[in-house]
Symmetry: C2
DNA sequence: CCTGAATCGGACATTTACATCTGATATACG
DNA sequence: CGTATATCAGATGTAAATGTCCGATTCAGG
């Protein structure tokens, strides 16, 4: 349902968010990879996409790394997902039927409704909200209700 | 988000459901493929999975084909999806963190919640309900609210 | 200015999903 | 029984997602 790339992107962003909260500076790909369990070379690709989407800022050279380009409460889970593996809503009939040009058939309407729910759910949650509910990687910092 | 295989399976089942409603008998793979726009050879594979899941009955030889193995109102959209490309809920921490063994971190809890919503949506809809809302392939038979 | 650290970007390899092909098997019908 | 019609099942081919590698570039610090 969700691609590995999406998983990786969310983990990487969560890590950077936690680092930002802890007052740490830029994070190197190596550290993020180790902490998030993402293959370091592939993580580079994923982070490139996040950078191009304006979610991460990078600094080359010694002492460099990446950090969130804006506050975690200004980043939606939806933004992260769209940056690497966009949810594609069903806007037109996949079969190209003329009769369904202006109104999807019930089948595709149903499928699109599911996509819409997920999209909405991700638009309604910021990265900060995810982090505030408890630690994503380290041991849990508090016991809070999920979701 | 949804695989092509899932799309194909839903289309094939929708076609068989419409055929059943229209009082037609078994449908050949060739006819289904033509109507649903699914590659005929690949459709064979998809239908095998549907048959093994007990959703389709097949009849070999001349005059053969496939038909729904039970009434369309006893088949959930969920059943079809699970038969070919199951929704895999996040039950355990993908990172294998001991601390998250009994409670997912907020990130994965959020992702699983999205999966749960989709799963629930598909469990709450029968194939019959999808068909009753209007034709899936032919021109629309009535104008009804979607979903 | 040199060296080590780190990202960047493209090329390449691997794995999985998608699709096709072919022979085997089962069935209706003459 | 023979033939045409279908599915069945395995082998194979192709495309896309995932993962790796390496040289180029950038930058801090001595």
């Amino acid at each position: 349902m969700f691609s590995k790339t999406t998983e990786y992107a969310l983990r990487a962003m969560a890590h950077c968010g936690e680092a930002q909260r802890a007052g740490k500076g830029t994070q190197t790909a190596e550290v993020i990879a180790e902490r998030t369990g993402v293959p370091v070379a592939y993580l580079g690709k994923v982070m490139q996409a996040l950078r191009r989407a304006g979610l991460l800022q990078s600094q080359r050279g010694a002492g460099g790394g990446v950090r969130l380009s804006r506050s975690a409460d200004e980043i939606l889970v939806f933004d992260i997902v769209q940056a690497v593996d966009p949810i594609e809503r069903i806007l037109a009939c996949p079969l190209g039927l003329e009769a369904h040009k202006h109104r999807l058939c019930p089948l595709h309407a149903k499928m699109d409704a599911a996509l819409a729910m997920v999209e909405e759910s991700f638009k309604n949650t910021t990265l900060a909200q995810v982090l505030e509910s408890g630690g994503t990687f380290g041991p849990p910092t508090e016991v809070a209700g999920s979701n």
